[in-house]
Subunit: 405 residues, 2 copies
C-alpha cells in the first residue's frame, strides 16, 4: 500500500507499536478469562501469557521501550489506586509491627541468599548481590489480589502495605550498601544521606500528606476545569512519583503515598476515572513481568537446580521472616503477612540488572534471579487466596481486578 | 544520590520520562484553567502551552518518542470516546450531504494552496504538496469542542463527523496521487487498489460494525473477567485502529469507527472508564500539537507573509467549500459545518513531513505548513463556539472536556 508505506516512512513504528499494544492487551485479557474459568487467579494467567508471547517461547513481542513505559505507568496507577483505599492513619497505627515485619523480611532472605551462593562456590560479591536481589518485595501483585477480593481493610493487609513501603526503603539501603561494596569503597556519609532522604521523604508524605490534601482538594472543586479533582489528583501522583525517584525510593512508593494522601479527600468520581486507567494499563505491567523472563538464561542443569533452591529460599525466608515479625497477631494473620510479602516482581530484576551492569553478576546467575522474581510472583496469588480463605466472601473468589468502593 | 544514580544507570530515562509526563500534564491543566477563567476554550490554552514549553520558547520539553506515542493514544481515545456517542445509522443518513461537503472541502483548499505557491514562485511539485497538506481536516479538536458542549447530536455536527471520515479517505487518495507524482511515476492500478481498500474498510465497518457489535457485546457480559465489556471494547478499539493503518486510513478513523460500532451496545460503565483514559491522555495530544510548532522555521519576513496568506486560504477554503456542500441546510448550519472542518492539526504536519522526507518540500515551506496546521487548530474552538452560540445551553459554555451521558 503506497500511502501506508509513506506514513510508515515518517513514523515506522506507529503500526508496530499499536500492534504490540493490541497483542499484549488482548492476550492478557484472554489469559485472565481462561484462568478465571479454571478457578485460578487471572493475574497469574496474564504473567504466564507474557512468558508465552515473549522472547522465551513464541517471540511475538519483545519488551520494547514503549511497553516498558506502559508497564511502569501501569504499576504506578495500580499502587495509586490501592493507596486511594488506604488511610494513612490506619497504616501509621500498625507502623511498629510493620517495621519488625519489614526488617525480619529483609534480613532473612539477604543472609540465606548470600549463604546459598557462597556454598554454591560463587564469588563473595556475587553472593552478596544475589542476597540483595532477594530482599525487596514487589507489593503490586499482592495489592491487586487483596483489592480485588475486598481484603485491603483487614489488619494483616494493612501490615503488608505498611511493611512493603518500609521494605522498599530498606531495600534501597541494602542496594546502596552492596553497590558501594561492589565498587570497593563504602562512603558512610553518602550512605547516611541516602538513608536520611529516603526515610525523610516517606515519613513526611505518609504523616502529613493526608492533611495537606484535605486542604488542597476542596479548592480543586472550585476550579473551572472539567474533572478538576481528577486532574489535580493525577498531577499529585506524577509529582510524588518523580520526587520519590529523586529521594531514592521507587516511583511506585511515591504513587502509593500519593494515593494514600488523597484517600480521604477525593470523591467517588476520581476512583471511577482512575479505574479506567488501571484497567487499561495494568495488563502491560503483568505481561511485562512475563516478557522479561528468559528461559534460555538458566537452561543448564546446574543453574536450574540453583534456581529451584533460591526459589524455595526466597519463599520460605519471607514467610518465616515476615511471619515472625507479625507472630503476635496470631498464626493465621502471621501467615497472611508472610505470604503477602513473597512476590519480588520487577524489583528483584532491577537489582539483578544493576549487578549485571556493575559486572559483578554473571549471566547465568542473572537468569536465576529473574526466575526467582517471576516465580515468587506467580506462586503468591494462589497462596494468598488460600491464606485468606476464611475472609473471602462467596462470589468474590474469582475477581482478579480492582473492584472497590 | 547513590541509589538513584544506580537505578538511572539501568533505565536512564525513567526519571526524565516521568518528569516530562508531569510537566506536560500539569501545565496543560493549568493552561486550560487559565483560559476557562478568561472565557476562552481550555483546549486552545493546552495547545498554546505546548508552544510555550516546547522547543520554540522555553525548551523544557522536546517531543520525544514517548510523548508522541501518548499523544497518538490520546487522540485515538478521544475519537473512540466521541464515536461512542454517535450512532452509525445517524451518520449514514447524512452520508450524501457529507460526501459533497468532504469533496468540496478537499478540492478548494488543494487548488488554492497549489495556486498560491505557484504565484509565490515555488516549484510545481512543492506547490502541489502544499495543496495536499491543506486538504485533510483533523477532526479531534472539533469533536472535543462539540462533545464538551453537548452538541454532537445536532445535524450539523453529524455532518461534520461523517464528512471528516470521508475527508480522511480523500486525503489519503490525494496524498497517494501526489506522492506518486513526486516519485515521477503514477501507477493507476496501485492507486485504485489503495482507494478500494480504504473505502472498503471504512464502508464495511461503518455499515455493519454496529450489528456485529450487537452480537458480540452481550456475550462479553457473560465473561468471568472483571470489567469484561471494557476489556472487549478496548481490544476492538486497538484492533480496528491497527486494521485502519493497514487499510491506509489513519488510526484515529479506525478508533472513531470502533467507538461508533460499539455505541449501541456498551453500558454506562464503559463510558466512565473510557473517560478516565481520555482525561489522562488527551492533554498529551493537545500539548503535542504545540510541541511540534517551530517558530524558528518560518521566522524570515518573506515566509511569515506566505504563512499568513496560506492560513487565511486554509480557513476560507474550508468554510466556503464545506459550507457550500452543506448550503441546503441553511446558512447557519452551513457555517457551522464549514467552521468545524477548519482544523488541520496533526494531519497537515504528517503530509508536510512526508514531503520533507521525499525531498520535495523545503524547510521554510515545511515551517509554513506546520504554522497553518497549528493556527487553524487554534482558531477553530472560538469560531465553533461563535457559530453554535444559539445552541449552547447556559452554564455549559465553559466546558472544554468531554462530559457526556
Amino acid at each position: 500500500m503506497d500511502y501506508t508505506a509513506l506514513l510508515l516512512a515518517v513514523r515506522p513504528d506507529a503500526a508496530k507499536d499499536l500492534l504490540a499494544i493490541l497483542i499484549v492487551f488482548a492476550s492478557a485479557k484472554l489469559a485472565a478469562e481462561l484462568f478465571e474459568r479454571m478457578n485460578q487467579a487471572g493475574i497469574v494467567g496474564e504473567i504466564l501469557v507474557g512468558i508465552l508471547i515473549g522472547p522465551s517461547i513464541l517471540n511475538w513481542i519483545a519488551p520494547t521501550q514503549l511497553l516498558t513505559t506502559l508497564a511502569e505507568l501501569g504499576v504506578m496507577f495500580l499502587l495509586f489506586r490501592v493507596g486511594l483505599e488506604v488511610k494513612s492513619s490506619d497504616l501509621l497505627k500498625v507502623g511498629g509491627t510493620a517495621l519488625v515485619v519489614a526488617v525480619a523480611g529483609v534480613a532473612l532472605p539477604f543472609v540465606l541468599g548470600w549463604g546459598i551462593l557462597l556454598l554454591w562456590g560463587e564469588p563473595q560479591i556475587e553472593a552478596i548481590f544475589v542476597g540483595a536481589a532477594m530482599v525487596a518485595t514487589s507489593v503490586g501483585i499482592t495489592a491487586q489480589v487483596l483489592a480485588a477480593k475486598g481484603l485491603l481493610h483487614l489488619g494483616a493487609s494493612r501490615i503488608i502495605m505498611a511493611a512493603a513501603v518500609i521494605d522498599d526503603v530498606l531495600g534501597l539501603l541494602v542496594l546502596a550498601l552492596v553497590s558501594s561494596l561492589a565498587k570497593g569503597k563504602i562512603n558512610l556519609v553518602e550512605l547516611s544521606m541516602t538513608a536520611a532522604v529516603a526515610i525523610g521523604f516517606t515519613v513526611v508524605v505518609a504523616k502529613w500528606g493526608t492533611k495537606a490534601m484535605e486542604k488542597v482538594m476542596p479548592r480543586a472543586s472550585q476550579l473551572r476545569l472539567t474533572e478538576a479533582q481528577f486532574a489535580v489528583a493525577i498531577s499529585i501522583l506524577f509529582g510524588l512519583s518523580v520526587l520519590a525517584i529523586y529521594a531514592g525510593v521507587a516511583a511506585i512508593v511515591g504513587a502509593f503515598l500519593a494515593g494514600m494522601a488523597l484517600s480521604e479527600s477525593v470523591g467517588r468520581r476520581v476512583l471511577d476515572l482512575t479505574n479506567g486507567v488501571t484497567e487499561l494499563l495494568v495488563p502491560f505491567f503483568l505481561v511485562g513481568i512475563g516478557l522479561h523472563f528468559d528461559l534460555a538464561a538458566f537452561a543448564t542443569r546446574g543453574t536450574m537446580l540453583l534456581a529451584a533452591v533460591i526459589l524455595v529460599a526466597a519463599i520460605l525466608t519471607k514467610v518465616l521472616g515476615c511471619g515472625f515479625g507479625a507472630y503476635r497477631l496470631g498464626r493465621k494473620d502471621a501467615i497472611r503477612v508472610g505470604v503477602g510479602m513473597i512476590p519480588r516482581g520487577e524489583v528483584g530484576m532491577v537489582v539483578a540488572q544493576i549487578g549485571l551492569s556493575l559486572g559483578v553478576i554473571a549471566q547465568g546467575i542473572y537468569g536465576v534471579v529473574v526466575f526467582m522474581s517471576v516465580a515468587t510472583t506467580l506462586v503468591a496469588p494462589p497462596l494468598l487466596t488460600w491464606a485468606y480463605r476464611e475472609m473471602i466472601r462467596p462470589g468474590e473468589e474469582d475477581a482478579d481486578q480492582i473492584r472497590l468502593g
